[in-house]
Each structure stands twice: as C-alpha cells, then as structure tokens.
Point group: D2
C-alpha cells in the first residue's frame, strides 16, 4: 500500500460526515477513558480541565466544554468523601471542524431513558 496521509482515509466522507464521525469518536473516547475516576466536589475542576485538554488533542476537535454534576458527586460521595465518576454526572459539548463544516456533539443524562445520551446539537 502507498503511504497515506491522514486525509486520504476520509475521501469517502463529506466534511460534515467527517466532523460527525470525529465528534462521535471523541465523545465515546472520553466517556470510557474517564468514567470510574475517583472524584469529589473539591477535585471536580481539576478533572474537568484534564478531560478538556486531553480531548482537545483528538483530530478535528476545536472546542470542549466539560461540566461535572457537583450535586450528584456530593450525593454519591457518602462517608468516604468521594465517588467514582459515572456517565450520569457528565454534561459535555465538543466542537469538531472539517474545513467549513462545524458540528457540536453533546452528552447529557436523560432520566427517562436512564441513559447518558450522545447526540448532535442543531
């Protein structure tokens, strides 16, 4: 096989499709990388920052906003003073851009579905 550049892998996608693909990858990545991390109300900011910086490294990601639910962290912490990060605690938006196409991928917890759903914002 000839040597390929990164771009060569994506000739079969439109710019919008690739921005959607990269948004999905990065959201799936951060969920499964960071769920389980020990966290308390006091360390939530540091963890938000590390999640943000690590995901900004991923292809096409140009902006990331991470909010961990401190009320839920507090409620789950019990007498040990901390808990493990769960998907229910995540409110995250990340923006991916391919040329002129910009996509915002979100995760938020849907109580009805009992599920941290990932979707594309209009």
């Amino acid at each position: 096989m000839d040597i390929m550049n990164e771009e060569d892998y994506f000739k079969n996608l439109t710019d919008r499709e690739r921005a959607i693909f990269e948004g999905g990858i990065s959201m799936g990545a951060l969920f499964h990388q960071f769920v389980g991390t020990p966290v308390s109300v006091d360390t939530a900011s540091s963890l938000e920052e590390a999640i943000k910086k690590s995901i900004l490294l991923q292809p096409a990601v140009i902006d990331v906003s991470v909010k961990l639910n401190r009320n839920l962290i507090e409620k789950c912490s019990g007498v040990m003073g901390y808990t493990s990060l769960t998907g229910e605690m995540l409110s995250i938006k990340l923006t991916t851009k391919i040329k002129e196409k910009t996509i915002t991928t979100c995760i938020s917890y849907d109580e009805n579905l009992q599920y941290p759903i990932m979707y594309i914002e209009d």
Copy 2:
C-alpha cells in the same frame, strides 16, 4: 422538556450520518475502555470475545469483528509473560445500521502515522 424517545435526538441527522456517528462513538468507546487491559497470547481470545459482546450492546451496532495482534502481544510480553493492550494491537471492524443505511467503521494501526487510525470503510 417533553419526554423524548431515543429517535427524537437524531431528527437532524440523515440515516447515513447517524450510522457514521454511532460507529465513531462505539470505536472511541472500545479503544478507551479496553486499552490497558492485561493480555497474553493465551487470553487474547477471551478478551476479543468480551470486547465484541460489549460493543454489540451499543446503539445501532449489528456486527463486530475483533482481532488482537498476537505477534505484537508476544513481542511486548517480556519475562512477565503478559503485557497491557495498546491501540497498536487492535484490528477491529464494526457495522452500524440505521434503517437501510449500513456503515463499517474500522481501526488499524498506520505505521507511517504512528497512530491507530479510525476510518469508514468504502
């Protein structure tokens, strides 16, 4: 907000776009969930099976093929007899389907990029 079904979140995507999105999520998810797992040539099959079964649970995923690179696992194992799973060891294809649209998402290691690249197969 009204109670939403899962489908309501995806009205702004075509079936193809959603299949691409779900493929990206599931590939990002499995990479970051399983990288780091202790693995040897002898346990590679069991880990392949667990990866496959867990990813088949994800939305829209209808087929998963997982091959871990036993030569690389062997080479990395050293005197301890096992190693930690890395992205370089992964060859995975997963198929997502939304109505009539089917998409195959792949990961394979690109030596030139020094990177386990995720892409959509034609």
Copy 3:
C-alpha cells in the same frame, strides 16, 4: 544500576506483605480497567470471564472469582437494554500466593458506606 530480577524489588517485604500488596494492585487494576464497560444480563458471563482471565495474568494471582450483580444490571439497564458496569455491581475474590503465604482479597459493595470496599478476607 545492576540488572534486577522481579524478586529483587521485594526484598523489603515479607511473603505475606507482598501477597497483600499484589492483591491490592490487582483489585485496584480490575476495578478501574473494567468499570464503564457496556454490560447487560446477557453479556455478564462473557465479561466475568474476561475479567477473570486478565487478572490471572497479574503477578502472584492464582485464583479469581468474579460475580457481577445481574439484578442491579437489569435494574440499571432501562429502555436501552444495557448499562455501564459500576463498582456497585462487583463481587470479586482474588487469591495471591507468595511462597507459602496465601491471601484472599475481596471487593463488595457496602450499602452503609455507599462504597465498593476492598479488604482482605480472614
């Protein structure tokens, strides 16, 4: 520094202390490796097997018993049909042995502490 064998690192521990140390490492390892994995009642057995086989690779581990709480998996699964593995779902015992000293390390969820506690069984 001279070339060291694995054993050389542990000259400052008794056999019992090292068995305790290795039990702690392996229990911490499996918790943080596998929490977050997609799981359903149907895939629980496959995941139990993969956890068991991967942890048996770790130094000094000679036996592992893994039970995932299917009632809790069922309860958390909701309309999506699966959930993410949490520490609350884990009942695990692992046995480490250094020469004649054998230690059993456990994890089980303590409702009072709201915490999946790791301890050494008598």
Copy 4:
C-alpha cells in the same frame, strides 16, 4: 450483619500491612484508569495534576508525586501530535499512612523486565 465502619474491615491487618494494601490498590487503580488517555508534551502537566488529585482521594493516601516521561511522549507522538498514555511513561510515588506507619509505593519502567513495575520503597 451489623453495620460496619471502614476500620472494621481491617482488623486482620497490621497498620503496616494495611498501608501496603492501600498503596497497591491506589497504584493499580491509577494505572488502569489513566493508561490510554490522549496526551502530548503540552498537556502532560494537566494530566499529572488530575492523576495526583484523584489518587489523593483514595483511602490512606497522603501524598502523590506524578512524573510523565515527556521524552517518550514526544517520541511516540508522531505526525498526529499526541499519543496514548502507556505504563512505560509513568514515574509515580504515592505515600499511604495508617496511624504511625507510612509506606511509599512506586511505579517505574524496568527496561530489562519490559514492565512497569510496582514496588515498595525502602
């Protein structure tokens, strides 16, 4: 069963043994939580800080020092500009204390063993 305090679980261990146990748990935990995280030379400090703060939450941990190997991160980054954190990149010491007993648990990469070894410092 009667309601137990955290301390009740550890009546069968000396203070030194429990400090060793907690050191093992926390080192195993951080390895398997953070290996796989996207990291570059520029984000290494943020990740070091998040690892440190999260592990300080764990029982008995009173001090943590985290150094990620920037030379190795640089070397592995390739044209994509970042890489995934591996065990080879970790130099970490954590101190656990139970009453008067203090233990320092370390991880560092041993080239001869091809293995990121965890041990107790004298």
